[in-house]
Amino acid sequence: MSEDAKTRGPVEPMARDAERKFDRRRFLRGAAAAGGAAVGAAAGALPAVAAGNPENQPPNIPEWSKSLGASVVDRPYGAPSPFEKEVVRRSVPWLTATPESAINFAPLGELHGTITPNGLHFERHHGGAPDVDPTDHRLIVHGLVERPLVFTVADIKRFPSVSRIHFLECPANGGMEWKGAQMVGVQFTHGMLSNCEWTGVRLSIVLNEAGIKPEAKWLLAEGADAAAMTRSIPIEKAMDDTLLVYAMNGEALRAEQGYPLRLIVPGWEGNVNIKWLRRLKLGDQPWHHREETSKYTDLMADGRARQFTFVMEANSVITAPCPEKPLAFGAGRYEISGLAWSGRGKIKRVDVSTDGGNNWRTAELQSPVLSKAVTRFRLPWRWDGKQTFLQSRALDETGYVQPTIDQLRAARGVNSVYHKNSIHTWRITPKGEVDNVQVS
């Protein structure tokens, strides 16, 4: 088959079947990039079912059945299928001045289950992600301690290890939408969220090694990056469930997640989970550093600001359908699915409304339901093909009920930037497209 034929192969049936929805040139580019095979992952709100290349479909024998595949020496560290190239983190260039002090978003609409793959964990850096040499990296523990200590990464790995699944969420998640619906896509409305199995040592064990003086009430955690990121953390949280970790999802931390050492402060805003951790200093008061005064504080409508609002309150979002995953099969049966999480503990219940919040049904929760971790919910639904509005509402084990956007605005105004955890609304159009809207 010539290159030309390869490229043309899938185009003709596609153009016949769906020419109104597809831009032909865009599809040609995509087909060429994928070597002429069917392109499943296309741009924007396209149907989930592409026509593909009939030559690879029954009753024909596909190309990959008639030649050898990759050998075991070809991919010593595996990568996703080339057909999944749209499943990537994305950033919003206008959001920040530079791409080094910036954030990107996990493609929540493309993910399954609850664990975020390491290459898709959202990134938030304030001075870029350094490649820290673990041989030279040190953690110093000092301040109000009996014995100032310095640890190598190997020292930290000697301590009793523990693995815990926890979500990590930037408190600015959803922050672009305080004043109105702005972003098209669950990746951008909720993608500052990830959920991993973290392995390390309880921070209390490491602090006990240094011996905490009674007057120590806070600790300052500091990174080794170009921002030398610092946050003050109350000693109670540090001694409770905070972890000093070196691994995520079974392998070493990724550079962009703080390799070789970072804090995991379960349920608390992402920024306090200091990456590339180089120093812990115990003190009697918080430091009031830039990232806990100028940033990561919540400005109220009266011009005063809240500080040290650490906990990520219960939140949820429907990831199927979503703007990236429209209803592609017309009226009929679908599974609504999404994610719920709470920084205060376990998700107790998730309710879903398919009529814009008038009536609610309780969704099934995928077990295990873990504390301060993402829980997936599911609910079968029969769509009648008409416009409607989908919402999800999380309840956590403290009895907290995820609020509406109106309730949040009444309490805080629209300029607090952080901690927007309101019930999210997707509008379903008669075509099955999904819009991000806000309702009252």
Binding site: T98, H142, H289, R290, N359, W360
Partner: protein, 218 residues
């Protein structure tokens, strides 16, 4: 065989010594003894933090006048000659009186509650492409100049540890005391006929705004 036994008994003695030492300090028992003592020199090299009270400020000083030239060299490219900010870079001056408005401007002068952490932040993270490259005197001078841009210092002022710790920032009382007041928004988990009024779409411009980045295939 005997050699092995001798080794084992030596090990037992060493263990016993460790355990008896542990009884001196109750905490010692729980300790693993990993890591080693950090030397004063090691700590001094990394101990760069300054807190809200100015604890941690180093010796040295800098003037507003010296700071102006340094600011123009190292800072103005991003933060603007008058602290107004260039492009998406943060503005560092102005904004007083805007915090309760529809368009609050959070700057050093309008928002920061304490002055010493400004020195801390410049020392640890600025200039953005080359942090931890300025001398303490230079950082004092730039700190002084940024405070002068906010009318907190006068043109002929000189800043050192004592002077910086004494500054009361305009927004010193702008932060709500008493910790996190949440949960502050209360919802009820109504299940049936929850709407007293028909649904009203309050915002649906996302598609038309066109501010969402395109996917890589576009």
């Amino acid at each position: 065989m005997f050699r092995c036994l001798r080794r084992a008994s030596a090990l037992a003695l060493a263990l016993a010594a460790l355990l008896s030492a542990g009884t001196v300090d109750a905490q010692t028992k729980a300790r693993f003894g990993y890591g080693r003592a950090a030397t004063p020199a090691e700590i001094a090299g990394w101990d760069i933090d300054v807190d809200a009270l100015g604890r941690g400020l180093p010796p040295g000083k800098g003037s507003v006048k010296d700071g102006e030239e340094l600011y123009m060299t190292h800072c103005a490219g991003c933060h603007g000659e008058f602290g107004e900010g260039a492009g998406r870079y943060p503005e560092v001056a102005g904004g007083r009186g805007t915090l309760a408005s529809e368009d609050p401007r959070k700057t050093v002068g309008s928002y920061w509650p304490y002055a010493p952490p400004l020195f801390d932040y410049i020392r640890r993270a600025m200039p953005f492409p080359s942090p931890q490259s300025l001398s303490d005197d230079e950082i004092y001078a730039i700190t002084a100049y940024v405070l002068s841009l906010n009318d907190i210092l006068k043109d002929d002022d000189v800043l050192d540890a004592t002077a910086l710790a004494k500054i009361v920032m305009p927004n010193a009382k702008g932060f709500v005391p008493g910790g996190d007041p949440r949960p502050d928004a209360r919802n009820e988990a109504c299940m049936k006929n929850c709407r007293s009024e028909p649904l009203r779409v309050t915002s649906d411009l996302a598609q038309r705004l066109g501010v969402t980045p395109k996917r890589t295939g576009d």
